[in-house]
Symmetry: C2
Subunit: 178 residues, 2 copies
Amino acid sequence: MITELEGAILTEIGYRQKRTAFKVRQAFKNSPSSYWQGSAGSVYPAIKRLIEKNLILASASNDARGTQSLQLTDDGHAALTDWAMDIPACIAMGADPFRLRAGLWQAMDVSAQMKHAERLAVSIEQAICLLENYLNNQDQYEAVQAKLAIELQQLRLNWTKRRIEELHALKRNQISAN
Amino acid sequence: MITELEGAILTEIGYRQKRTAFKVRQAFKNSPSSYWQGSAGSVYPAIKRLIEKNLILASASNDARGTQSLQLTDDGHAALTDWAMDIPACIAMGADPFRLRAGLWQAMDVSAQMKHAERLAVSIEQAICLLENYLNNQDQYEAVQAKLAIELQQLRLNWTKRRIEELHALKRNQISAN
DNA sequence: CCGAACATGTAACCTGTTACATGATTAC
DNA sequence: GTAATCATGTAACAGGTTACATGTTCGG
C-alpha cells in the first residue's frame, strides 16, 4: 500500500513528466488545488521509499548538482493503477476544513453569521477566479484536478449563498415580529 | 493556533455535549462524514494539549473508572470561534482522494475507464444512501456535516456520470469510424 | 559577477495511526 | 457470571511540516 502523497508523486513522475524530485515539489507548491506543500522533508524521503520499493527508477544525469532523472518502473505503473482504481479510497471523505466548520456557524447569532457568510462568499469567488485563470495553461491531469477544485468551491459558494438567503429571511421575520 | 482535530474536539465538547474523551472518540468513529478515526492515540494527547492550553477544563466524576467530565473554558470558546471563522482555513483545499485520482482515470483505455466509472457510480450511490439514513437521527451540527458530505458525494457522482456519457459517445464514434 | 532559480538532502518536531494494556459498569 | 460497552491511557511507528545546510546553473 502506498500513501496519498506517494500516489501523487508517482502520478507527477509517470504522467506529468516531472522527472526530478525538485520538479515534483514545484508542482505541489504551484498547484492551487493541491493539498500538499511539497516540502523537501516529505518529498525526498517519499521518493527514497518508492525507490526502495522498486516503484521508481532513479538515473543520474551528468551535471554537478546531482540531478536525478526519475521514471516509473513496471511495478510503479502497476502500483499507481491499483492506487488510482481503489474504489473505497476514491469515495472516502477527505479532510475538508469547510465541512468541518460549517456546523458551528449555525450556532452563532444571526448578524455575526451574516457577516461571516458574506466575507466567505467573496473569498470563495476570488479562489474560483484564481483556479479558472490557472486552469488555462495546464495539461490534462492538472486541468481535471483544477476543474474538480472549482466545482468544490462552487458547492461551498452555493451553500454559503443559500445560507445568506436563509439569514435574510430570518432577519425579515425578526423585524416583522417586532 | 489549534489543529483541525483539536478544533473538531472543541466542537464536540462545546456544542455536542460529548463531555468525555471516550464520547468524542465515538463521535469521530461513528460519523460517516468524519475524516478521523478517533484513535485513542490522537484524542487523549490532543485533549491533554487543550487542557494545558487552558481551552478545556477537566473535572473528575466520582466513579472508579476515572471518567473525566470535559467542558470548554472561556478561552476555549474564544479559540473555537477564531478557528471556525478563519476564512483562509475555511476555503483551503482539503485532502480529497477522489480529486487526486480523477486526472489519472483519463489516461486509461476507454473500456477500463468505463468499467471503473460504473463501479464508482454504484459505490457513491451506496455512500449517499448511508449518509441519508444517518442524517435522520442527528443533531444540527452533525446534520450540517452530513448534508455537506452528501453534496460532495453528489458532485463526485455527477462528475462520474458525465464521464460515463462522454465515454459512451467516444465509443459510438470509434464504432462509426470503423 | 551576482541574484534567481535549480537541485538535493537532513534534523527537529508535531501529530496522527495501530496495537497494546488495564480496569469499571451494565444488561442479559 | 459474562459479554458488551464504557473509560483511560501509553508505546512504537509513520509520515507530514518547518527550518537548516549545501552546492550548481543560468540569465542579465
